[in-house]
Subunit: 342 residues, 2 copies
């Protein structure tokens, strides 16, 4: 008798009909105090819990739920900013939307979760942050009739996609450093993994960096490119390696603000001043970057969340009106960690 109790069990236990139980559950009027008490007692005794599925089904009330799946809770500050955009947009809507968060621990796990989502029809729309879906996965979503939108994925592989132009942003960042007289610019980024399905963010930004160098006719120095795990610590380590170089760079372009912070910490730890000795450029413009005076590239994180959510809702409502899928161009925000050495 450990099976989940239903209202029938409760009704029997309380010696009333199921209608009465339901009425108590819903705080409906027209229930005698005596019945209400008996039912409540039975509920407690049986540890009864209404099934939300059954409720949603019978009560015709369609509660919409959107999913957000990401692999990048490690770079969770930027994820949080995007999420904030999503929430903000959703809360402005008339209808209520539940936001279900899926956090994949690895690419394989992401695939697994995705399958589960499709199998259970768990969400009506899905936002995919920082995961590049294979063609098959995207097809599966389409077949399941689940609209989806990629955010910060490799534009090439995931469509539709809220595109941050990583290449252009990185090019601008590098060009900014060049305009400030820098000739020896290092790049700190993540490993270029997962290239099966298009470029990674790191690779895209790296390409933008290379483009800027080449456009200006500068030689490319392989020693100035340091790839590692994402995050503060790896960037810290990479920076130490850069400093140890016979000819150290005069500027370092980190592919994320978090990494830029790790970079700056390493520089200062070695007695180097930022920006007097070395300029540092980040990427993301997290809110903290404003606070730390980091020169960086603004890429409209919160807005990307908003736009993504807007797209999903429009699609769900079958609105034909177009939704703007492009974000404003990334732009360099000059602050105090870069210096003109021209």
């Amino acid at each position: 008798m450990s099976a989940k109790p239903t209202i029938y069990d409760v009704a029997e236990e309380a010696g009333v009909g199921i209608g009465t139980v339901s009425r108590v559950l819903n705080n409906s009027t027209n229930v005698s105090e005596r019945s209400r008490l008996r039912v409540q007692q039975a509920i407690r005794k049986l540890g009864f819990k209404p099934s939300s599925a059954a409720r949603k089904l019978s009560r015709q009330t369609r509660i919409h739920n959107l999913g957000v799946i990401t692999q990048s809770f490690n770079s969770y500050y930027s994820f949080a900013e995007r999420l904030r955009g999503v929430q903000a947009f959703l809360s402005e809507q008339d209808e209520k939307y539940e936001l279900i968060l899926y956090n994949a621990s690895s690419r394989d796990n992401a695939a697994e979760q995705l399958k589960a989502i499709i199998r259970d029809a768990a969400v009506e729309g899905l936002m995919i942050i920082d995961i590049d879906l294979s063609a098959e996965e995207q097809k599966a979503l389409r077949q399941a009739n689940i609209p989806y939108i990629g955010v910060n994925n490799s534009t090439a592989s995931l469509s539709p996609n809220i595109g941050a132009d990583n290449h252009e942003g990185a090019r601008l960042a590098t060009q900014y450093l060049i305009d400030n007289g820098h000739r020896h610019i290092a790049y700190i980024g993540d490993f270029f993994v997962d290239e099966r399905f298009g470029f990674t963010t790191s690779h895209e930004r790296y390409n933008g960096y290379r483009t800027a160098l080449e456009t200006n006719g500068f030689a490319h120095n392989e020693d100035f490119v340091k790839l590692g795990e994402h995050g503060y610590d790896a960037a810290h380590q990479s920076t130490l390696e850069l400093i140890a170089l016979p000819h150290r760079p005069t500027a370092i372009f980190a592919m994320s603000d978090t990494q830029a912070l790790g970079c700056m910490a390493a520089l200062r730890q070695c007695g180097l001043d930022v920006p007097a000795d070395v300029s540092v450029m980040g990427y993301d413009d997290l809110e903290i970057s404003k606070h730390t005076g980091l020169t960086t590239v603004r890429q409209h994180l919160e807005l990307s969340g908003r736009r993504g959510a807007a797209y999903l809702l429009h699609t769900l409502k079958r609105t034909t009106s177009d939704v703007n899928l492009t974000l404003p161009q990334p732009v360099v925000i000059p602050r105090q960690t870069t210096r003109d050495i021209g």
Copy 2:
């Protein structure tokens, strides 16, 4: 005919039985290629979407879902760290849990959302971050048989609660400054609002600050207490006011790292060095604080998320084993923004 199509509509359109439609939906075997195609066509034509509620109900598969409700997406970095703890814990479990995020825009909105959650039995367990529930609200949750856990709420009012000892943390922080020779210590915090249901975090930390001062027999200076909105900007403003004082403090204790950053920015902007001229102490130990060298109080944010999730799961499983609800004591993490002026 704009009503949501069901499998019956699809079956009719495709000229097959509902069983076949269901089989196609579930990628079941034993469906002729011909039928499969017809069904898929019909699905597309009708824009059919399976109802997740009906699915969950019929398929006996109980998918658990937990809710997290918060009001504090404004201080979302610390929220993100907690959430990370929750996710990490959940992903270690065998059973699958869906995490539904509720973000209240105001206290009233929180009350509204809470009602909706209860009404819809939307979640099996609820984590309440930074919102103090009234006795009635807690009672409603209990009646609805939804286990809940407060995180960083005023211990007094929300029970059970994963308690961060704000008073003690603030006392330690202040004592640390005192031990470093400071006698003129300012406090920057949030307004003490919402006291109907217990103390706010800001108030608790303020009290800890006062306790330290009094224990050491120092006079309390009302001018040194600046309360405002939460966040960087208000703290920035408060700091400017502190600096303008005839006798400015030698140390500033901000109730959060975010505010400490605003404070430091203001100091530097006025040509004051941290920590040479003024020491700054934060609270939270966000990950960024390590990066910015901020002396602060560590309060185990991620762990609080983990513990909260653990409690909910244990309760759901009716495990009798006790769950540890107490967090390690907060501890001062000395870094580079404070100086011994003894």
